[in-house]
């Protein structure tokens, strides 16, 4: 039964996505095209990676507002290495990811040591990491050109970029970790009831350290995908991405109270958001209407799922 419920949730999300795509197809002439698909798949990786990390943190009962700033730090470090110091792309890649991982570990450590709510810790790190990104770049956009082109170029024959394949692969990996490994189940346990988890010998601090590190590392990768896409490292990159990532996760059914979530569903949430953005830009809708439409789709998607779940529960009860 739980399996079945799971699939119906999934199906619903897919339908929502299809409906949105259908709507834009009807409203706009050239929306259904390979080019649009490519635009969407190009847009996705950064948000998807940030949203994966966010989903891990949310499932374990926390929240990470710093993902956007951390992705900027990664980009900034990469730009600093490559554009300012002529280091090799490999070294720069490593340095960027290390910096991002460091931010994640900082989040985790502060949460564990000060026993503060992660919302406020990561809000502080959001500010500080953004400042760090400005410092590293001297508040300047660094032009990098094709240095990370391999991430952006479409992989032989598939028409999909390396970054997209990376994001999709990591989504599947993350889903596997979540549902099929001891670590994943411990995340769920800590997110549901950290005290009960502690009593059976799971260390919530360890789990928290891991999820924040994961979120930091994934945010770093997101920042690098962003750099690859734009061919430039911009210290303002990724600002506000944390809210989109949260929205994607929640649209995908992840609970903000912890303990519940799915990586695959988050990925569909990301697709919904990317489709919405692409569609609105396609229509050339004015900025105010874009905002209104975004708000309506966020509330509508999550609300429709909430209503569906309630109806399904009721139907099941009556059938029993």
């Amino acid at each position: 039964m739980p399996r079945l419920r799971h699939y119906s949730e999934f199906l619903f999300l897919a339908l929502l996505l299809a409906a949105l795509a259908g709507l834009f197809g009807v409203l706009s002439d050239h929306f259904w095209s390979v080019a649009t698909l490519q635009t969407i798949t190009n847009r996705i990786p950064a948000l998807a990676l940030a949203a994966l990390g966010m989903t891990f943190v949310l499932i374990a009962g926390g929240i990470d507002l710093s993902v956007g700033s951390v992705s900027a730090v990664a980009g900034a470090v990469f730009g600093w290495c490559v554009a300012d110091h002529n280091l090799s792309v490999g070294v720069a890649f490593g340095a960027a990811l290390t910096a991002a991982l460091g931010c994640g570990l900082l989040n985790g450590t502060l949460v564990n040591v000060l026993l503060m709510p992660s919302f406020i810790v990561t809000l502080g790190v959001l500010e500080a990491a953004r400042g760090a990104a400005y410092l590293v770049t001297g508040s300047q956009t660094k032009y990098l050109g094709e240095k990370l082109g391999w991430l952006q170029d479409s992989v032989a024959g598939l028409g999909l970029s390396g970054a997209f394949l990376l994001a999709a692969g990591l989504t599947i990996g993350a889903q596997f970790v979540l549902t099929r490994t001891v670590l994943g189940r411990q995340m769920v346990a800590v997110g549901t009831n950290a005290e009960a988890a502690r009593l059976v010998g799971i260390s919530p601090s360890r789990i928290r350290a891991i999820v924040f590190a994961l979120a930091g590392g994934l945010a770093g990768l997101a920042g690098l995908c962003h750099v690859a896409r734009l061919g430039a490292a911009d210290p303002n990159a990724g600002s506000g991405i944390e809210l989109s990532a949260i929205a994607a996760a929640v649209i995908g059914g992840t609970s903000l109270m912890g303990g519940r979530g799915s990586m695959l569903a988050t990925f569909i949430g990301v697709l919904i958001i990317a489709t919405l953005e692409a569609g609105l830009a396609h229509l050339g809708v004015s900025e105010p209407m874009k905002r209104v439409a975004t708000g309506i789709v966020i509330v509508g998607a999550v609300g429709a799922e909430a209503v569906r779940a309630r109806l399904a529960a009721r139907r099941m009860r009556l059938a029993a």
């Binding site: 002439d29 635009t39 400005y134 001297g138 032009y143 911009d234 953005e277 396609h282 050339g284």
Partner: protein, 293 residues
């Protein structure tokens, strides 16, 4: 504290000038501030300088606070790049009433609002619209009448963003190009890239994209590359930031405008220093140069 008080009352005090900027995290304003600081170092005997910027270009409240703060510090002159053309007028009126000289740089305060407030503030800055027209003409020269073009503008509420859009529109009308869409990229690379991708998909015949600043031009170039339409869609920017240089060289961006950011604030400061001495002020137009390869 007491010794500084003595210093103030003894020698004819060095004037203190406050430079109030928009976001210093924006390269353009960063360069402006750096230029001003360098100028002050060279003229350290002439004046003291306090530089402040706001976090978010749209946070007017913070900028108003900054002005109030500078009034509280009893600076002698405020050189301000207002984040909004109208909303800063009342607080500047209060500052003027406190006897502080006000110089407006970069983004022109709304004349109607100034008139309503009974305030005269000299404007020292570039003509964004004229600059955009000049950039636009370079692009238009490479297109034929009827070609489809689009504009990615900055934040629609910002006057310099509006002026640039109007300038582009002037150039487009002049060359009888077809403007198919105008959307906001909020000054950001990422958003501009998303918008540009959609524009490219929606308009297969698009020939050029005019961007309100260079960051957005970088985003547009990335979108064009991703769509495999390099060389077939022209891009124009504004500001001439460092990161756009390689693109100008490669022709991915064909023109941008240089407002000489490093000197912009300096011009304002100079006018302020003159004003403090002579109580005389006047508008001063600063140069805008079109930059191509």
């Amino acid at each position: 504290r007491s010794d500084s008080a003595v210093a103030t009352s003894a020698a004819p005090a060095k004037p203190r000038v406050a430079l109030v900027m928009k976001s210093l995290a924006n390269e353009f304003f960063g360069t402006m501030a750096a230029g001003a600081k360098a100028h002050q170092r060279d003229h350290a005997a002439g004046y003291d300088l306090i530089v402040n910027g706001i976090k978010n270009e749209t946070d007017l409240g913070e900028q108003v606070s900054l002005v109030e703060q500078m009034v509280a510090m009893r600076v002698d002159a405020i050189v301000i790049a207002p984040a909004d053309s109208k909303a800063l007028v009342p607080v500047l009126k209060r500052a003027a009433a406190a006897g502080i000289a006000i110089i407006n740089i970069d983004n022109r305060l709304d004349p109607a609002a100034l008139k309503d407030a009974g305030l005269a503030v000299p404007f020292v800055g570039p003509d964004n619209r004229a600059g955009a027209v000049a950039v636009g003409r370079i692009v238009a020269a490479r297109l034929a009448p009827g070609d489809a073009v689009a504009i990615i503008e900055g934040i629609p509420t910002a006057d310099n963003g509006r002026q640039r859009r109007l300038g582009f529109e002037d150039a487009i009308k002049e060359a009888k190009l077809k403007l198919v869409s105008t959307q906001s990229g909020q000054w950001e690379m990422e958003r501009a890239s998303t918008v540009a991708s959609a524009l490219l998909n929606a308009h297969a015949d698009l020939k050029a994209i005019f961007c309100g600043n260079d960051n957005m031009a970088l985003g547009a170039v990335a979108a064009i590359r991703a769509a495999g339409r390099e060389g077939r869609v022209l891009v124009a920017g504004f500001d001439n930031i460092k990161a756009v240089q390689p693109l100008l060289a490669s022709g991915a961006v064909i023109a941008t405008a240089d407002q000489h950011a490093d000197r912009l604030a300096v011009f304002g400061i100079e006018v302020a220093l003159v004003a403090l001495k002579t109580k005389q002020t006047a508008d001063r137009a600063t140069p805008v140069d079109v930059v191509t390869r």
